[in-house]
Symmetry: C2
Subunit: 306 residues, 2 copies
């Protein structure tokens, strides 16, 4: 059984009282306390899985906090308070731990997050786990897209392993502006790759048509594809590489032009692309100069270089 | 540097806005959101450190949640929502993970906690990390004790390793009743042992005088001392064994008799003992039939069998 299968099984019969607006299954849990809505999220990064020992320690700290910040952004929320759990052991130098923590603190200051505690525990590999609280007025769920919606993605996709996965900017400001300015139907942050994460915005009756030529491909993905002809194409990288931490959202088609125009005024340095639309045919369908083909979960079936 | 030294160094210069009532240093962080107070806590248990592979999996799950519940109790709060992070790997059987999670869920139902999500991550040793939110009206801090206060402890102390550390009852009900009924000056839950944790209720100008004969010693500690004459005495076990998860609190001496009388009416099955008083001499001083002696941090200097 894979991770999501196990989680689904474990959390299938959870009890929830009226304070739980959304439990497992979205970017954050949504709670109602004292008549107001809160976001609640936890996320861990582990050496050897999410970063390697050569990564600059401040960037490791940045990544640890920026990841759940990206989840709060995906709900249209404002992060507020964090607890930091460090899994450490005696082989890890103290000045290294301090440098990592400095990265966490700098990121916290940048996004107005109060670090209010945490703990250290003994673990064989260096681990940072972040618990994050945020405020939200109208949480944007993954499930609100409608047939005909325009699909937008911020920033650029693919090739994040070169450096983006360590120093990415969580789209807090953009997300808050979107939530305040438009009726965003559904939103998610891209952590597992577009071809995988987009499916969370669909249901059994809806699909997505994606225009290959509209996909914003990060330069690192293009350069990597050029330098390594045996690796995946830049297009496949943009569809399937993980850790983009960009916003993927849908709005009514009538709002699409307005969203694009206003975005370009407010965030002229950050790309926003309309990459396709929600359709009534289940699955993801990629349209290019050769026509439209269904896209398998990770894109491999139809897009691998052969 | 030890754990608390490292944490103090890392968290020394944290920024905090007006929503942070209490950051690092108490049993939970205390936040003010929407004009109401929240408790925020994270706690992890690791195989080989907090439990071994022979422990019943449901009890491991119970312990993982009950530990931060005990911290919420120590503030006089009501736990409400939890996120569960599982550190797992392919060597851990799925039905074992499910049994552990069942223990978490049963504990959550018992104490009215909504489990609202979490994640799994890859770790070499089985780990459970719990993030917990709670509500509180008037948080009881560690720092409020006054000279002359009576010192109380719930339950019994020592020998928790036999089974108590896995199946203990977090003192949520007792703590809420105390907070609602009396002016509790300071409170903490006992996780590192009385001789260590009591110091958190003192400052550089105050100390505690503890009456050895008043200490409630758990039967397991007595039996262990009898069975193993070379091990620590039952009294030393009660002072220094960790993981009691009992409440240690102080009240004004004028309230002491009332607290005891009312407790016995409300919780006739749970011991409450007045074990001493706050004094104006720094440090912990143990009084027995031979007089009064200062107690070293872990009690070893003066209490070891020799």
């Amino acid at each position: 059984m894979n991770e999501s299968g196990l989680i689904n099984k474990l959390t299938a019969d959870l009890l929830a009282d009226e304070t739980v607006i959304a439990g497992p299954g979205d970017d954050c849990a949504v709670l109602e306390l004292y008549g107001q809505k809160l976001l609640f999220k936890t996320d861990a990064i582990v050496e050897g899985v999410h970063f390697d020992s050569e990564a600059p320690p401040e960037q490791i700290g940045h990544k640890a906090l920026a990841r759940p910040l990206s989840d709060v952004a995906a709900m249209g929320g404002t992060p507020s308070h964090a607890l930091i759990t460090l899994g450490i052991n005696t082989s890890i130098k103290e000045n290294y731990i301090e440098a990592v923590y400095t990265g966490v603190k700098n990121c916290a200051v940048q996004y107005g997050v109060n670090i209010v505690g945490g703990e250290t525990t003994t673990l064989p590999c260096f681990t940072l786990s972040v618990s994050l609280l945020g405020k939200v007025k109208n949480p944007i769920m993954r499930t609100g897209s409608n047939i005909g919606d325009a699909i937008f993605v911020s920033g650029e996709l693919g090739g994040s392993i070169v450096e983006h996965h360590l120093n990415f900017i969580p789209r807090i400001a953009e997300s808050q502006w979107l939530a305040d300015s438009f009726n965003i139907h559904a939103m998610i942050d891209l952590s597992d790759g577009l071809a995988s994460d987009l499916r969370h915005l669909l249901n059994t009756h809806t699909g997505a048509e994606i225009l290959a030529s509209a996909l914003p491909i990060r330069r690192a993905a293009r350069e990597n594809a050029q330098a390594n002809p045996s690796s995946k194409t830049a297009l496949l990288a943009a569809l399937t590489d993980g850790e983009d931490y960009e916003l993927l959202f849908t709005v009514s088609s009538k709002d699409a032009v307005n969203v694009m125009d206003e975005w370009n005024k407010h965030f002229p340095d950050t790309s926003l692309k309309c990459i396709g639309k929600i359709i009534d045919r289940p699955g993801i369908h990629l349209r290019d100069e050769n026509g439209t083909k269904p896209l398998a979960l990770h894109g491999y079936d139809h897009l691998q270089k052969s």
